[in-house]
């Protein structure tokens, strides 16, 4: 690169490169993309490593998503293209896809099968918690360079109004017809214009019956001094306050200061009994650190793979129901590949394989026949309609109302 024009070494390298590209049926543009993506990956590696479970990355690296690769291509691509004509045509407009998701969240073969079927190379990045996810997706206001992510449904209204997500082209997602009727027009995104529902779950709690005897039906066991030092709550402010709400008979979406103070008071009484506010309910339950832990239903399903005797309950006094979604980010470098990914994950067998892996039920009617009976037939993972009807969804709060929670959450934690 640095040699003078006409330098024999340079000419040789140029020829070799040309030959390599032709052999690999690669265009210069693709080579540049590959090199830049590699560079971005190398540069990102320490940051990604540092942020695993630490949540530091969003503030430390607001603009260093994989976006660093695709957008930076443009100028150099133009320069190269004008210097020499493209040797081979670009076989397909989009050969890559950047997915940003939870760890261990989809079927073990889902990525491989998608790559085999479409020839699109999937770059799969993971986040440790939803806060990290949101901070990164919002870092540049258009998705941090990712194509597809899995935000919780409660985030959708603000993601849509802030222009972080792209309106879906349903002609690319014919499998949308597989959705159950009750999932075709959710309140958070009417008509599924910007998102496709992915999984749904409950938030209850898991316990080890060897340490915590009895059949639990209420939230009381999480406040029982008998388990002191071995109780865990999720490191999630809205979910924790919701538990206090259910115990006190207060709406978990309340924004009333007096009610919030009551909830905080109850949680402050609980705190001395706690071992931790956990990011890793699965690991803490299977290692025995916790005897009883506030948990998501799918996490319990993963716990019992290691420790089959662990139990889970959706308390009858009220519990949270949530669902997540598949969205295309507004700054997606590969929006078509992104929608192909969404369509692929709505395929009955792929959708069922995802559910069979993680234990969360999906909204896919056509997938039902392929779902394991252990999941489909378990009322803790697939509760009957009468139970579902009583579950509460956490709604998105505007800044002024969210502050009421955050201030109390920090006061509780400090």
């Amino acid at each position: 690169m640095t040699g003078r024009p006409g330098d024999p070494t340079d000419a040789l390298i140029e020829r070799e490169l040309e030959r390599y590209l032709v052999e690999r049926r690669m265009t210069r543009r693709q080579l540049l993309e590959a090199v830049t993506a590699l560079g971005a990956a190398v540069a990102l590696a320490p940051i990604v490593a540092a942020c695993t479970n630490a949540g530091l990355a969003p503030s430390a690296a607001p603009s260093t998503g994989p976006s660093a690769a695709p957008p930076s291509i443009a100028p150099s691509e133009v320069a190269v293209a004008s210097a020499t004509p493209e040797p081979t045509p670009v076989p397909s407009p989009e050969k890559e896809l950047f997915v940003y998701n939870w760890d261990a969240y989809i079927g073990a073969d889902t990525v491989t099968k998608f790559q085999d079927q479409t020839g699109i190379q999937v770059h799969y990045d993971k986040f440790p918690d939803a806060d990290t996810q949101m901070t990164k997706l919002r870092s540049d206001g258009k998705g941090g360079g990712y194509d597809v992510s899995y935000p919780a449904s409660t985030e959708l209204p603000s993601l849509i109004s802030d222009g972080v997500v792209l309106k879906l082209d349903k002609s690319l997602i014919p499998n949308v017809s597989n959705l159950r009727p009750e999932w075709t027009n959710p309140a958070y995104d009417p008509g599924n214009a910007y998102s496709i529902p992915n999984y749904w779950w409950t938030t209850g709690y898991a316990w080890d019956p060897a340490k915590v005897p009895g059949n639990q039906t209420t939230w009381d066991a999480l406040f029982d001094p008998a388990s002191k030092g071995h109780i865990g709550m999720l490191d999630d402010q809205r979910e924790v306050f919701a538990v206090a709400g259910f115990k006190l008979g207060i709406d978990p979406n309340t924004t009333d200061e007096a009610q919030l103070d009551q909830m905080l008071n109850l949680l402050e009484q609980q705190k001395p009994l706690l071992r931790k506010y956990t990011d890793d309910d699965i690991g803490d339950m299977t290692s025995g650190n916790l005897w009883i832990s506030h948990a998501w239903s799918g996490d319990w399903y993963q716990m019992i793979a290691d420790k089959p005797n662990i139990k889970y309950v959706i308390p009858t006094t009220g519990a949270v129901r949530g669902n997540d979604t598949l969205v295309v980010l507004s700054g997606a470098p590969h929006p078509i590949a992104a929608q192909l990914w969404i369509n692929f994950n709505l395929d009955p067998q792929i959708s069922a394989a995802n559910t069979n892996y993680i234990g969360y039920m999906g909204p896919n009617a056509a997938a039902e026949q392929y779902i394991d009976d252990a999941i489909k037939g378990d009322p803790r993972l697939n509760p009957p309609q009468a139970v579902v009807d009583k579950l509460v969804e956490l709604i998105f709060l505007p800044p002024a109302d969210l502050d009421k929670y955050t201030q109390r959450w920090n006061a509780l934690r400090a």
Partner: protein
């Protein structure tokens, strides 16, 4: 560290060695000095001052209804909110962990540094490499390793159970002890290296002279070695305390419900709280307090200890 010393040398040089041009160095030398110092200044400006300025500006802002940061009405409100007493326990935790970690690192590190310097012989370099060896593995991975060692079904509990010392696993992880252990483990090399340099530079003849004048071994250490290596101890304390007070990873992974630090509070404001202005204010305030406290401590130490 090399660059900032250049202007100091440049300033001191005329006094030390007057030149024919009456206290002014030749232009070429002054340009050379600027060239040497420029990379450091540019580096600090881009990677320290600019981010700091951004934090400062954001901390004066507020959020609109759509949760976007706006600077329409800059104010100090966020700083007033940041001084709320409810965060004091978390700040006290941060100070306590950093303080204990610093003291332990010096108490454990000084004898190691002393031993390597005095008895390391031809293996000094090897021993110093061993001190730095842990840095070859990511700090995060080493902290996870501590989680595996300390958890209820972990290595330590298994050994104690097998030996019959305990009959039920004892909770070690998610405690003050685990946090302090992890932090001391992590920061120890930062304490050893400056103390080693200081001890190694100490002129052995001074200790011999003290012994010749009938000082006991203990007396020579207390009155000669320790005061002369005090700069190394102070450097070790600073290199440990300052990063320790803002440490987020160790308390978060090894700590529990009762060990929240101020860094965690700031993290909550930036993530689930979505309040970057407030988080920036609290972060900036923490930095000012740390810096102020450090400068104050240094001045006192210089007067009282270093002399």
């Amino acid at each position: 560290m090399a660059s900032p010393s250049t202007p100091a040398e440049a300033a001191a040089a005329p006094v030390a060695a007057p030149t024919p041009t009456a206290g002014r160095r030749p232009l070429s030398e002054r340009i050379a000095g600027l060239v040497f110092v420029a990379p450091g200044v540019v580096w600090l400006a881009i990677f320290f001052l600019a981010p700091l300025a951004i934090i400062l500006v954001v901390s004066l802002g507020s959020r609109d209804a759509a949760n976007h940061i706006t600077l329409a009405n800059p104010s100090l409100d966020n700083y007033l909110r940041a001084t709320r007493p409810e965060y004091l326990p978390a700040f006290a935790n941060s100070l306590r962990y950093a303080g204990i970690t610093t003291i332990l690192s010096i108490l454990i590190g000084y004898p190691i540094a002393y031993w390597i310097s005095r008895y390391g012989g031809s293996r000094k370099i090897l021993l110093l490499i061993l001190v730095m060896l842990p840095f070859w593995t990511s700090y995060l991975i080493r902290t996870y390793a501590w989680m595996i060692i300390l958890r209820d079904n972990g290595v330590l509990n298994s050994i104690l159970l097998t030996l019959g010392v305990i009959s039920d696993p004892i909770p070690i992880l998610n405690s003050d002890f685990a946090v302090i252990l992890g932090m001391t483990y992590g920061f120890l090399p930062f304490a050893i290296l400056p103390m080693y340099v200081s001890i190694d530079r100490l002129d052995g003849h001074l200790v011999e002279a003290a012994r010749d004048l009938f000082a006991s071994g203990r007396g020579a250490f207390l009155h000669v070695t320790l005061p002369l290596t005090m700069p190394g101890i102070v450097a070790a304390a600073l290199l440990t305390f300052i990063p320790a007070i803002g440490d987020y990873v160790t308390p978060d992974l090894l700590g529990g419900a009762q060990t929240t630090t101020i860094a965690k509070i700031i993290q909550v404001l930036f993530t689930s709280g979505r309040d970057w202005p407030y988080g920036s204010a609290l972060g900036f305030l923490l930095m000012v307090v740390t810096l102020g406290g450090t400068l104050l401590a240094l001045r006192t130490l210089r007067r009282e200890v270093i002399g």
